[in-house]
């Protein structure tokens, strides 16, 4: 920042001489570290590389779709490309992103702990991630999978392309996810600082807790499922093969039994980030703390029983369709509760309009639009037309990109000074944020309309009437990409030359800011004792105005 913010105190901030970044030196000290903060940083680098790869694939797809016929690649390349985009973005970026990076980095700090409960398991989860990621990418280089990230049988079991390394990679990535989830659950149960009851945990901790439960309970199912597909592909047992007495739809049920809750593995941490940032930037007690905390658990619970809404046109019985539709709508109710609470938190706050706020504004619009179009596709009669069209693509990108990546960017900007002790350039931050919110709308709103017009997903060539909207979407995507490039540049610059941020540049009351930024190796010089509710901006002795709405 070029000038100190008006919210800062007037003494110059100090960069702590010894911190977790420089306490040990050398690459080996990083690769063998059991420090949750360093593991978080390594996760950050890894998922950013994955995001870059996935983004490049996305741009290639968008360029291909500029014309109705072939543009820059052949049909088989296109099919491998969208598979690659989906697999990399979901398994290598979205699922580990917020829990892996910010869960690891912030969770122990927020609990007032020195580390997670099982630091070595934590490192193992990172190595499992790297192993899985390498296998997935190797499989893609070795020949490429063309099944889509959904691996529907019997297509996946009969395709001539390389499948096994990718499935094995996902199987191993699943263990990484389970180990992380287990570690966080135990950490939250056992390592809270003195005075921190369950109702004094920050909302990000609640969100990570709910996420971890899903990770531990649902991930084994995807492991099992991809293993069965692998066995079927190699051994030919006919589990999902109708000609040998198997059932291809069984795969769909098993796949979505994980992959629907997996959406909440991605979204719940995002919601946690937003709760933290909204409280910090409006200097306000979070409105309806308990409602937000319990609705996280509510989403985690009902999320397990909603998978059938992916199968409305699969020939499932109409009774099942109806039951799954109602359950899916409950997720919408829990989400609505959170949205109301976030907006109400802004009410009568003292809001510092910084870069993360732009993303928060975008996030609130996207999650309501994305969430309610989710309700729309859960309305069975409407889903018949929209199923497997770009409407669904646009809907889940509103949630995955609009909500989760916005939250990821909020987290990056909010916790960047915490992680590295330096500030990025606020002006460029604002520019990039505006570009991304704008570019996102320009990319995905045309895709809703494409879905209405009837363009199915995974189409390499399409009827000419869909071209105008496809061109609009590609134009939006390039804006979006441009925004990400700007962020990458100013963050790397900030790492090296950024101004020293000080311990608590936002004057946040999150417990993670009670220590220096960047924190020392063991987080706290003395164990903190928690005496107040979380997100509390009242000074002791201050006269507090209470308002009921």
């Amino acid at each position: 920042m070029s000038q100190p913010s008006q919210l800062h105190e007037n003494k110059p901030p100090v960069y702590p001489a010894v911190n977790y970044l420089n306490a040990d030196r050398g690459v080996w000290s990083w690769l063998t570290t059991i420090d949750h903060k360093r593991i978080g940083v390594m996760y950050l680098i890894s998922v950013m590389i994955a995001f870059l790869l996935g983004g490049i694939f996305a741009m290639a797809l968008r360029v291909e779709l500029l014309t109705p016929g072939p543009t820059i690649m052949g049909a088989n390349t296109y099919n491998r490309m969208f598979t690659l985009h989906g697999v990399v973005m979901i398994f290598l970026f979205m699922i580990p992103a917020i829990p892996g990076v910010f869960g690891n980095f912030c969770l122990p700090l927020m609990l007032g702990a020195k580390d997670v409960a099982f630091p070595k398991l934590n490192l193992l989860s990172l190595y499992l991630y790297w192993t899985g990621a390498t296998l997935v990418l190797a499989g893609m280089v070795m020949g490429g999978t063309d099944t889509g990230w959904t691996f529907y049988t019997p297509y996946s079991t009969t395709t001539p392309t390389t499948l096994f390394p990718v499935l094995l990679g996902i199987f191993i990535l699943g263990f990484s996810s389970i180990v992380t989830g287990l570690n966080f659950i135990v950490t939250i149960h056992t390592l809270r600082a003195p005075g921190m009851g369950w109702m004094r945990m920050q909302l990000f901790v609640w969100a990570i807790y709910a996420t971890s439960i899903i990770q531990v309970l649902a991930t084994p199912v995807i492991g099992l499922t991809v293993l069965l597909v692998g066995i079927e592909k190699v051994g030919g047992f006919g589990l999902f093969d109708a000609t040998r007495g198997g059932d291809p739809v069984l795969f769909e049920h098993m796949f979505w039994f994980y992959s629907h809750p997996a959406v909440y593995i991605m979204v719940l941490p995002a919601m946690g980030v937003v709760s933290e940032a909204i409280a910090a930037f409006s200097r306000k007690n979070i409105f309806g703390y308990k409602m937000i905390a319990y609705s996280s658990l509510g989403i985690a619970f009902v999320g397990f029983f909603a998978w059938g809404h992916h199968l409305f046109v699969s020939g499932q019985s109409p009774f099942n369709d109806g039951a799954f539709a109602v359950i899916s709508m409950l997720v919408g109710v829990f989400t609505a509760i959170k949205v109301f609470n976030w907006v109400a938190t802004l009410y009568r706050g003292a809001i510092a309009v910084k870069t993360p706020l732009i993303y928060i504004c975008g996030f609130l619009f996207f999650i309501v639009f994305g969430g309610m179009t989710g309700i729309a596709v859960a309305t069975v009669s409407l889903d018949v037309h929209w199923h497997d069209t770009y409407f669904v693509i646009a809907h889940f990108h509103f949630i995955m990109v609009g909500a989760v990546i916005m939250a990821f960017l909020i987290a990056v900007h909010y916790w960047f000074p915490k992680m590295f002790g330096r500030m990025y350039h606020e002006g460029w931050g604002m520019v990039a944020a505006s570009l991304i919110v704008l570019g996102f709308n320009a990319t995905f709103i045309p895709q809703f309309l494409l879905g209405n017009a009837g363009m199915p997903r995974r189409y390499y060539m399409y009827p000419e009437r869909f071209q105008a909207l496809n061109v609009a979407s590609t134009a939006g995507a390039s804006l979006l990409a441009f925004g990400f490039v700007i962020i990458l540049i100013y963050l790397i610059y900030a790492l090296v030359r950024g101004e020293v941020a000080g311990d608590n540049p936002w004057d946040s009351r999150g417990y993670e800011w009670m220590t220096t930024s960047p924190p020392p190796k063991h987080n706290f010089d003395e164990t903190p004792i928690i005496t107040k509710d979380p997100h509390s901006y009242q000074e002791p002795g201050e006269e507090v105005e209470h308002v009921v709405i």
Partner: protein
């Protein structure tokens, strides 16, 4: 109302509504999407306004503690729930109607394979690849199966879509409201040329369609059928084809065609009959049951019969199974009785009764 509907369709890039199902679907669509747009804009705008209205005015500014009242919580939960349930009720009502084909529908068999659609008409009709001729203002039921991977039959103008599965029959139906040509798209990813697996529905005025069908039947004798790799090619109607298969596969050794009791249930008037199973359940004999019984004969045995039928899994191609079903459907007397089959006369060797 229709003018407003058309305006909304144009704004939302929806194709024209050309089936009876499309109209209620579009109305609900407009309702849901309008509320969605209003709600999300209000949320985003409200946040934006708050940023200015409640911006920080001095460092360390203190803020009030705002807490929700019970009334607020009830509104927050109640309002979304009210809208969601309203949409669900209307949507599910339309959906149940959509998943229940009318009794008088014309049947067409659809067989999907990479990357084409094949159609066979019930009764004495012709076969076709890629183009489906149907009458306007009459319900048409599609009985669909795939011979390789999962496909999905999607007609945007009719707002219908149904996955087409290997080893299973799924059905959908529609009633086109205006003559014209409408595109069929495959919407379930099925490999290299998934994006080119297109077909066309030609909707003709009723009388024109009837004449077309007569012409087709007349021309059938001279037509060279394109059975291709789906089995032996056959010249003639699907029913005759089915009869030929029934003879060739030996079905008629156990199933009579004239109502006489035999080892298996007679095929005369079998279609549409209500049967009591060994398990005590009652089923109606439909396409799905007939197909299931060819693939897995011992799964659902009619009471009084023995599980002696071998499986025809792998021995019947999808069009052959469809032809057999059509043949069975063609066997009916004037007065269809919906009573269980008469008991079998076949009595396998029982252990001798103890004296």
């Amino acid at each position: 109302m229709t003018a407003l509907d058309d305006l909304m369709r144009r704004l939302l890039w929806l194709p024209d509504a050309r089936s009876t199902f499309a109209v209620p679907v579009d109305r609900l669509h407009f309702f849901v999407i309008t509320v969605t747009m209003i709600a999300s804009t209000i949320t985003g705008l409200l946040a934006f306004i708050f940023f200015f209205k409640y911006r920080a005015r001095r460092p360390k500014q203190s803020t009030p503690v705002v807490v929700p009242s019970v009334k607020f919580e009830l509104v927050v939960i109640g309002v979304p729930l009210f809208f969601f349930l309203l949409w669900f009720v209307q949507g599910f009502k339309d959906y149940v109607w959509y998943t229940t084909p009318p009794k008088n529908a014309t049947d067409v068999y659809v067989m999907a394979k990479k990357w084409m659609w094949k159609f066979s008409y019930g009764g004495e009709g012709p076969n076709a690849i890629g183009t489906l001729h149907v009458p306007a203002n009459r319900p048409v039921r599609l009985l669909m199966t795939s011979r390789d991977v999962i496909h999905s039959f999607f007609v945007p103008d009719f707002r219908i879509k149904q996955d087409v599965l290997p080893g299973r029959y799924t059905e959908t139906w529609f009633e086109a409201t205006k003559p014209g040509r409408y595109q069929i798209l495959c919407s379930q990813y099925c490999g290299t040329w998934h994006s080119q697996m297109w077909g066309e529905i030609v909707v003709m005025p009723g009388p024109e369609y009837d004449q077309w069908m007569i012409d087709q039947k007349r021309g059938l004798a001279e037509r060279v059928d394109t059975g291709g790799d789906d089995g032996p090619s056959f010249h003639g109607s699907i029913v005759e084809y089915g009869k030929k298969i029934a003879m060739a596969q030996g079905c008629v050794k156990c199933h009579s065609l004239d109502g006489e009791p035999h080892i298996g249930p007679t095929w005369l008037d079998l279609y549409g009959k209500r049967e009591v199973l060994e398990s005590g359940d009652t089923i109606v004999v439909d396409e799905a049951y007939l197909t299931d019984s060819m693939i897995d004969p011992r799964g659902k045995i009619v009471k009084g019969y023995k599980p002696v039928m071998p499986t025809y899994k792998g021995r019947l191609a999808a069009p052959e199974a469809a032809a057999l079903v059509e043949f069975i459907k063609s066997l009916r007397t004037q007065n269809l009785e919906t009573v269980p089959s008469k008991e079998a006369i076949y009595e396998p060797a029982k252990p001798a009764p103890r004296k």
